[in-house]
């Protein structure tokens, strides 16, 4: 049985179709792209929920916050708390943070500019549903494209996040080190993606769906596929 997932299409999502392409055409999954107003009825019938990237509501007020208050998110929150897998990429990550499903905040990049570039992501834990086929320390080439992707969390929160093994990816330099040069947006401790305590809710600023085919990568890599393969594995293991 192939994976069956739903991509929630919000008003202003722009990476929704890309995510569908990566999961359907590259991974061979069954994927439904559903308008946010119609999505809440069927959420449970899928294996996982995806919140795609984009500029929901034009990033008005701040990225992700208006989408976080749509009725469909009430249902997503309910399911996430029951352990249902929920994945947010880029704006989806911002929505997860704004809706309180993930901790911290995503603020304006330290350059004060939008930035689109390929980054190195180091896998920090394999316990999340999106990294369990990877090895700790693996480096993935995955591009970012955001203006508000700088992860921030207070000292106490960071301590807990680290102690609970919730940092899933960090930005690193080419040689795998946590450096300022490898950090594209000024994220605290170079954090690129995190999960909740249980590991079923995962947020990531870079775009694995843009890095799942070698033809799209300047490096000929397809590391983004590991993100999706991990999810398959998560289900196989039950």
């Amino acid at each position: 049985m192939p994976m069956r997932v739903i991509v929630v299409q919000f008003s202003g999502s722009t990476c929704d179709r890309d995510l569908v392409y990566a999961m359907k055409d590259v991974m061979g999954w069954e994927v439904d792209l559903v308008w946010y107003k119609e999505a809440q009825k069927h959420l449970e019938s899928y294996d996982a929920i995806f919140l795609p990237g984009g500029f929901t509501y034009g990033d008005h007020l701040r990225a992700g916050i208006i989408a976080a208050y749509t009725p469909v998110m009430d249902k997503v929150k309910e399911l996430a708390k029951e352990g249902f897998p929920v994945f947010g990429i880029c704006n989806g990550f911002q929505i997860l943070v704004e809706s309180g499903l993930l901790t911290g905040a995503l603020i304006g990049n330290d350059t004060l500019r939008f930035s689109c570039k390929w980054t190195n992501l180091r896998v920090e834990t394999t316990r999340s549903a999106a990294t369990n086929v990877a090895k700790k320390g693996d480096i993935w080439k995955v591009p970012i494209a955001h203006g508000e992707g700088r992860y921030f969390l207070d000292e106490k929160g960071l301590k807990e996040l680290n102690e609970n093994d919730q940092v899933v990816w960090r930005y690193v330099s080419d040689d795998g080190k946590i450096t300022a040069e490898g950090n594209p947006n000024g994220s605290i401790e170079n954090i690129a993606g995190i999960c909740n305590l249980e590991g079923n809710v995962v947020g990531l600023m870079p775009h694995p769906e843009r890095a799942s085919e070698s033809i799209l990568s300047p490096w000929g890599s397809d590391h983004g596929k590991l993100y999706f393969q991990s999810l398959e594995n998560y289900f196989r293991r039950g």
Partner: protein, 747 residues
Amino acid sequence: MTQETVLRDEINLTKEEKEVVYKTLNREPTIPEAAMLEVMNSEHCSYKSSRPVLPKLPTEGPRVICGPGEDAGVVDIGDGLALVFKLESHNHPSALDPFNGAATGIGGIIRDILCMGARPIGLLDSFRLGDLSDPHTKWLLKWVTKGVGDYGNCVGISNAGGDIEFDPSFQINCLINVGCFGVMRKDDLALSRATTPGDKLILLGGSTGRDGIGGASFASKNITEDSESDRGAVQIGDPYMKKLIIEATLEAIKAGVVEGLKDLGAAGVTCSISETADAGGTGTEIQLEKIRIREDDMEPWEILVSESQERMFFVVKPDNVKKISKIFDKYELPYEILGEVTDTGKCVVKYRDQTIVDLPAHLLTKPPAADRKATYPKYLNKLNQKWLPKEPKDNELNDICRKIMASDNMISREWVYRQYDTEVGLHSVVKSGQADAGVFRLSEFGTKKGIAVTFDGNSNQCYLDPYNGGAGIMMEACSNVAAVGAEPIAMTDCLNFGNPEHPQVFWTFEKVVEGLADAAKALGVPCVGGNVSFYNHDEVRDVAVKPSPVIFVAGLLDDVEKAVNNSFKSPEEFIILIGDTNTEIGGSEYTKVIHSSDDGQVPKVDFANAKNVLKKVVKAVNEGLVTSSHDISKGGLFVALTEMAMAGNLGFKVGLKRIPADTQRSDIKLFSETHGRFLMTAKQEDMDKLISIFAEDEIPASYIGSVTKEKKLIIENDENQVIVELSIEDIKHVWDTRMEEEMEGKK
């Protein structure tokens, strides 16, 4: 009509235009009619100066589905698909308000693609600005980049490339040109016409305000000290609403409920109701108070000519109104039924039970052309085409190379394109900064074909020699797409010039178009659309911009996986130079940056062989014989080699002796900008095959050196002495960081 009318002396039209209006109407026009006529007669909408010249451009070809006249050109790319593309200027608004000017440029060009029925998938942008170190230039560059980026990123259309030139003639009148392309099933082609009386006219999207009142008229005059007061002519964009309009429009087309479609750009509602009627041989009648307005006290004429953004105009069968409403409702987009198609041939506007406009559609859409005089420009008399600089000493060449690579027009544009999403859509296979053209795959449309796109311009060469400059940019743009392996299939242009009423300016316009046309004919590449921007003239300093045509060429790859970029791949590979090198340094980077001269021979296109050279280049790439490929253009051989080395982080060793040239001078071999030349790298085992492809047609293909593991640029002269020896790091550092440092300060 019992409306207040406008007297002959008060209407802002030329004598000839007035005659046509009064003869046709046999009465004085009403105030709204006069406003509509003024805007439709503006240079921007009517092309009145350029119209007599543009027919020189070839517009026919086997792939052409829609040529000039529609909102965008449409060409057949096989597999039941069509490519739609267009290039347009947003110069005047950007000069005053660079953020909103550039952003609405992107908004407008997206609508042009969308209203043909295609999903817009890529954007390009071209900036012409003053010297980079100038604070005003930095202000403009910062905000036009943000305008293009914020809008394009938010609507989720990836950037596929562009170009920037810095030159003092653009100090006040910057030129901001933007392009967009999209792909559709041929059956989905939508036309901006209303063919059936009784069909409903629906306005979708944003409300109508005072922004952009007279935008087209403003774009049709020079920039003066009073231009600040025209700020209200700059529109404000809303990319979030545009994203919803794109999805709603495409869904409506897919549902088969759209009879005609028109975007609201220049001249707003006036343009939509007249052009759809005239193109369809019908008439239109609307009820003006149905239009949602932002300010209560807007006058009818303001509503009719407002250029408020994010609006689309639909022609829909009465039976389908319900269906299309459902789609608009899904996206929570506002819309109104304004009126319907008639059989009168007229545009009628009613307001509060009175007829305020009753004009024949053709009076609005087909204003008379202007008769412009052209005279040979005096500045050209001063130029010496035979001039050659004093030959530099061998030990001066390292410094010359460094200076050229660090010059405004050569340095990396990464600071700009990093602010653009170049990945969204999963199309970009060859991205900004990786090659001469951007390459997009079309797998989402079910084909393995690819599209290559490029912008090209060379204002300096078009200034010094308008004919050869115009021909040259056409050759360069086609060479750009050929270099990645694509056959050039069509072009669209944006012609940016000064005041057309100045005969010397108009002469350069005519010559540039002739050059473009002759090259397009020689290359067999039709022109499928265009845009003309005149009055790029700064009255304060009395400076016109250099003649600055920008062209957008699209190419087709049968198999997108065959595309190559311009980076050296591995050491020991052979470097091949295609073509002859002539003593053509007029308008070159070398002449400008090193010798500060306007003299010298501007490169001429070899019309007889141009098409064949490109064909062979495409063949060589598609047969998999080359590992990288790069067209030689600005900065000549040296810059092209260095860009390939920097991209691959490898070095090269090249001998000038092996370069077929009409000179033995090292500086000319290194920096001449002769067209029709390419650099390619190949593995040793592929060399014979590669050379023979070109030998068949007696096109020179010369082995000039090799890629090296050592990260050095080494060039030997005709006597095999090393005359250039630079480390990649040394040259790359300045090239990479200068723009960022200029814009952000030193780190």
